[in-house]
């Protein structure tokens, strides 16, 4: 795969303000964040092959510079359990998408290892007009949407800063485990936060990013969805 600079340059040269999802996942992985295993297929047949290689279950996601809400146009299929199903579902998905998002360019199909349920957290980053690169941490779902329970740091940050961000949110106790569940792997989450900070620091073309969700487990954390916006 390409280096971070190449990924950004390619997007800019194609006039895109947003990285495609496989690019966004790749760029954050290159900065050391643990990312759910994924690969881009050009055809339904290739999607089947890649799915078999990655291992089941997988998720299929349409990759298109023209579609920002994939599930609204039928561009996401979860829980695919065999090679044949992957080929079949990929075909169906492409048909539905071209019907609902008429004329949208299709880059390919992202085949991603389906992450089991865990604690959903969000890591974000933006370029503030006053302070420059800033990173954010919060828990997924209502914690962010309703309670706005998030913490921020101005980059560059240290690993201690990343741990502080996790302990600062009001719902921090959920990271320690509850109702008998063990604590999540904070070191892994810290790696995601540090990757987000460095990504912004070293690539002035990036305006903001959302890693949402990052799913945290007792032994790891995985970036499942990534959105990277470039500057105008």
């Amino acid at each position: 795969m390409s280096a971070p600079r190449d990924i950004i340059q390619r997007a800019l040269s194609e006039g895109r303000r947003k990285l495609l999802e496989h690019e966004a996942l790749e760029i954050i992985r290159l900065y050391g964040a643990p990312v759910a295993e994924a690969a881009l297929a050009k055809t339904p047949e290739e999607a089947g092959e890649l799915a078999a290689k990655i291992g089941f279950p997988v998720v299929l996601k349409v990759v298109s510079p023209d579609i920002s809400h994939k599930s609204d146009v039928g561009g996401v299929v979860i829980g695919v359990r065999s090679r044949e199903e992957a080929v079949e579902k990929a075909k169906q998905m492409l048909a539905t998408v071209s019907e609902r998002a008429h004329g949208a360019r299709i880059t390919g199909i992202l085949v991603q290892k389906m992450a089991p349920p865990g604690l959903e957290v969000i890591v974000g980053g933006l370029r503030d007009a006053v302070f420059g690169p800033v990173v954010m941490f919060g828990l997924g779902g209502i914690f962010v949407e309703v309670l706005k329970d998030v913490s921020f740091r101005v980059a560059p940050i240290t690993i201690e800063d990343a741990y502080e961000m996790m302990s600062e949110i009001k719902a921090a106790k959920l990271l320690e485990g509850y109702r008998g569940s063990p604590p999540v792997d904070k070191e892994s989450i810290a790696k995601v936060i540090l990757a987000a900070a460095r990504l912004l620091e070293e690539n002035p073309e990036i305006e903001s990013l959302d890693l949402n969700p990052v799913i945290a487990y007792p032994d790891k954390a995985l970036v499942v969805d990534a959105r990277v916006i470039l500057r105008k």
Partner: protein
């Protein structure tokens, strides 16, 4: 670099006037009262202003001018600033309003022109649209509010920097009323040149400043990191207390990402303050609550607090407040219990809080504090001394002060009530013990001291 704003040998006031109640007159009066250097009024309409020879232009002044104070209407400012530049002046305080803050095209254009002229001649500028500088030591005073309306505080260790002029003058007046000493106050208004970063760097070196208060609405775009870097360095030697105005989120605006929508403006400022060792005051009351503890108390090494009280109820309130702020209140170890039992009447409670009860007297406080303060498991003590009880007198002030000076641990007091409580507070504060009127305010102040102490210990400034 900013020295000429605070310690000029000569000052020219451009727009000086004899008209009563005018800004150009109040400023001349201010300088006449307290400034020992040379004062040159400038105004083509007068030969003389308040007994001083008046000049038609700053260029006519036969001697060097270190600082000009400009109070002429905005459209004339570029002309007089250029003349100051030609004269070789390197520092200008532009009091006049009528620039970008008006939101007009003309205002913006004038401001840009002024900035251009300043750059061209290498003049440093404070303002425009500001009150400028009040320096209790040098006598520089461009606050155009007459003495009888805004009292001037005595000389002291606090300096403050404010984007808002009204806030600066209200705070000065308030500090004068409470006899709180000030070193320098700077209101920088539109800050076309001198800003928070420059002023922090200057105050870092200023020997008469021991604590810096800042009122910030917004830091200039792109200056945030330098601000943090500077604050980090300054905070290692002098506490910085910031009040951030404009806290409400602009998250309602359409933002390109989730994170941007959540960030708003204030959340990022808060993070930046925290990362830079800055102590944030969350309300106006807190500005002075936090400042007085930071100025007077030694570093707090850990989070263990003991409470000594004559009022059980206030002890409980304080326990709640301290716990909420994350402090620990150790339980009294057996040997201290025994020690205290041997010197206190049996009805006193020797847990934490130590309750000396309503029949306490000065002596009872003294013997307890004497045993408590040296203990290794005590990082700070809060003394609740409600003066309504019959056994207490002003001798307690000396007792507390003597023990505090001997053991050098953070010590705060709480006193609630009317005249007697206020007198008690004033007496203690005069000796360097901060006093609070509520348990919650005392707990918040102690928290600020704890956070600052940890910053200072971590930054290696103090071992």
């Amino acid at each position: 670099m900013l020295e000429k704003f605070f310690n000029p040998r000569s000052v020219a006031i451009i727009g000086a006037t004899v008209k009563e109640g005018k800004v150009g007159r109040v400023i001349v009066e201010n300088f006449k009262k307290r400034f020992p250097g040379k004062i040159f009024p400038v105004n083509p309409k007068y030969e003389e202003v308040l007994g001083l020879k008046c000049y038609k232009s700053v260029k006519d002044i036969p001697e060097p001018v270190d600082l000009v104070v400009i109070v002429v209407p905005a459209p004339v400012v570029p002309t007089v600033l250029r003349e100051a530049g030609e004269k070789g002046v390197k520092a200008a305080i532009i009091i006049s309003g009528g620039f970008r803050e008006t939101g007009t095209e003309e205002g913006r254009r004038l401001e840009e022109e002024v900035a251009r002229i300043a750059r061209e001649y290498g003049i440093r500028v404070i303002g425009p649209n500001c009150l400028g500088v009040y320096d209790a030591w040098s006598g520089v005073d461009t606050f155009f509010l007459p003495d009888e309306k805004m009292r001037r505080p005595p000389r002291g260790p606090i300096s403050f920097v404010s984007q808002s002029g009204a806030f600066a003058s209200a705070l000065l007046d308030w500090m004068a009323y409470y006899n709180i000493g000030v070193s320098k106050a700077i209101s920088y208004g539109n800050k076309i040149d001198v800003d928070d970063v420059d002023l922090l760097s200057y105050l870092e070196k200023d020997e008469s400043t021991r604590l810096i208060i800042m009122y910030i609405e917004a830091i200039k775009p792109g200056r945030g990191r330098l601000f943090m870097e500077t604050a980090r360095r300054v905070a290692a030697s002098k506490p910085i207390v910031v009040y951030k105005a404009g806290k409400t989120s602009r998250g309602g605006k359409a933002a390109a990402s989730h994170t941007a929508a959540l960030a708003g403006n204030y959340n990022v400022y808060r993070a930046a303050f925290k990362q830079s060792g800055i102590i944030e005051a969350e309300s106006f009351d807190e500005i002075m609550d936090l400042s007085k503890v930071l100025l007077s108390q030694p570093l707090m090494r850990g989070r263990r607090v003991y409470v000594v009280t004559d009022a059980g109820g206030v002890g409980v309130m304080l326990t709640d407040a301290l716990t909420r702020e994350g402090f620990e209140m150790p339980t009294t170890p057996p040997e201290l219990k025994e020690e205290l039992r041997s010197i206190l009447p049996p009805h006193c409670i020797v847990e934490n809080p130590i309750d000396l009860t309503g029949d306490a007297d000065d002596e009872r406080y003294r013997v307890v504090l004497e045993r408590l303060l040296p203990k290794s498991y005590v990082d700070a003590v809060i003394v609740v001394a409600l003066p309504q009880i019959p056994g207490m007198s002003f001798r307690l002030v000396d007792y507390i002060h003597d023990l505090w000076s001997r053991y050098r641990k953070p010590l705060l007091a709480i006193s609630i009530g009317s005249e007697e409580a206020v007198k008690f507070k004033e007496a203690l504060e005069a000796k360097g013990i901060p006093v609070y009127e509520s348990p919650e305010r005392a707990a918040r102040a102690l928290k600020a001291l704890y956070i600052y102490s940890q910053y200072k210990i971590r930054s290696g400034a103090e071992k």
